[in-house]
Amino acid sequence: MLEPIEPSVGIAFTNWQRDLIRKDEGLLERQEAMLQALERGPEPFCNYLEEHLAIGSYRNSPKLSLHRELTLNEVSNPPVELERELYELWEHELTPNEACLPIYWYIMHTAWIRSLWFGSDLVKTFVHTSRSASDPMENQVDDRARSVMRRVGGLVEERGKVSVFSDCPMARAWWRRRISISVAEYSEGTLTADQAHIALHKKSAVWEPLVLNSLRRVTVVNNPRIRAAIVAHIASVDSIVSSGKICTRLVQDVARRCQFFTPQTWQDAMELVNSSAASVQAKAGESTNEDND
């Protein structure tokens, strides 16, 4: 386990992220400085992170191991098999109370990048932008800077607690496998961990609503049987694949129905989720018809 995070590191982390998104005169210069460190390669970027996040003292701390150099595609969007491998590799090294912390993943990424586990072209690895070349330059730079922060450990100032679960591929890999194992345990044979994992990975529109609604409130969706039923439903249908909005409504509708009600059996949980899903789909269909009218 990593030693406790010093308060000074927390302050440095906060100030650094704010400096990179706060809209003032110096923003472009600060963002370009970060991106230039990234472009120069692993050692300069690691030095940049250690200096700005005050994490130099963690250089010799225990690190999560990586068993081989990862390809660009693997780092960008780890496939299910890699997510499983990473979870199994880290099973005895990483605990949930560490894995939920964005700063923890920044420390890990600094070690991995320095060890060249992500190769030397960090721009291709960490910059995923949707801006076109015709967008104003400052918007392009802003998008690139935010992309790096999200992927290295999360952009808390923009996305809060969910960022580490949803935006950082390595953290997301661990959490997704962990939840998949829980789903298998509570689904009474309906899904294996691999099947649950494939559902959460392929139908990625459901991961963020599931996690976001669990993080933002002390929600009943964290109940492992209820969560397993949601995932089992998602695994069984195709229509939910592309709609994050419908996934969000499903999760929220289930949470509402379970406010004073705890399914006592797996069958009860599935009936509740299926009923929720039918209601959500019906309302979505009505809404589409109204739009067409």
Binding site: T14, C100, V164, S214, L215
Partner: protein, 249 residues
Amino acid sequence: MSFPQLFQDGSRNDWQDAVYDCDITIDRGVAFIEHKLKNAAGLEQLVQDGKAKWSLEVRCPRTLFSTAHMSREPTIMLRWDPSDVYEEITIFPGMIAVQELELPRQELTKVWQEANTVLVPAGWQLVRGITYSSQADSSSLLTFQKDETLDEGQMMIQENTSSGSLKFIVQLAPDIYENISKNRTLQVAALIGALGRLHNQPYEEPNEAYLGLKYIFEQHGFTPWDESDFDPAYTATRWERFTPIILDD
């Protein structure tokens, strides 16, 4: 659809005179509860008959964690691995119907007595306790740190979002750091200072890291910090009791 419920806080009571209370103790990785019920013999009988059970659930949203235990005994101990949770955990006590059951109507309020039968589905929360948190809200917000560079009696406050949500680091000069755990006045002063920094939030768009604190404000009915009449001192002292210094004349 709704069914009879008894709430610990009194906001809902479908039994005529019933009262529910509980004693909860929380420590690292363990919670103890003793459920107590008065004037609800019918509910107690349901537990003895195995149709309902006392329940205790522990959740930690930061780590997507939830564990629960149900028992026919009113005393429950629930354990978890401390590394499965981060910071605040929330406890949900109550009583749950474990099968579909018919409630004896004579103890219920008049409106329920008018029904022919009162059937409750399996899983319905018959008794709902107040939600308990493992930490007082404000103490989870502040971390105190000794700062040798500060002069006697000085305090500085800075924000920390490295955990994913907003916290404050309160840096104290060594002379006051020694007393912080016992000095309520200093603690409240730190809270006032922390809340004072919220007023200067520099963002136009909502900042997700602040959502947890925003929820706390809503729950307590505090004036939002971005409104012109937000008063950090008033908010802090509504939140945490301020102990005045009594001077001898």
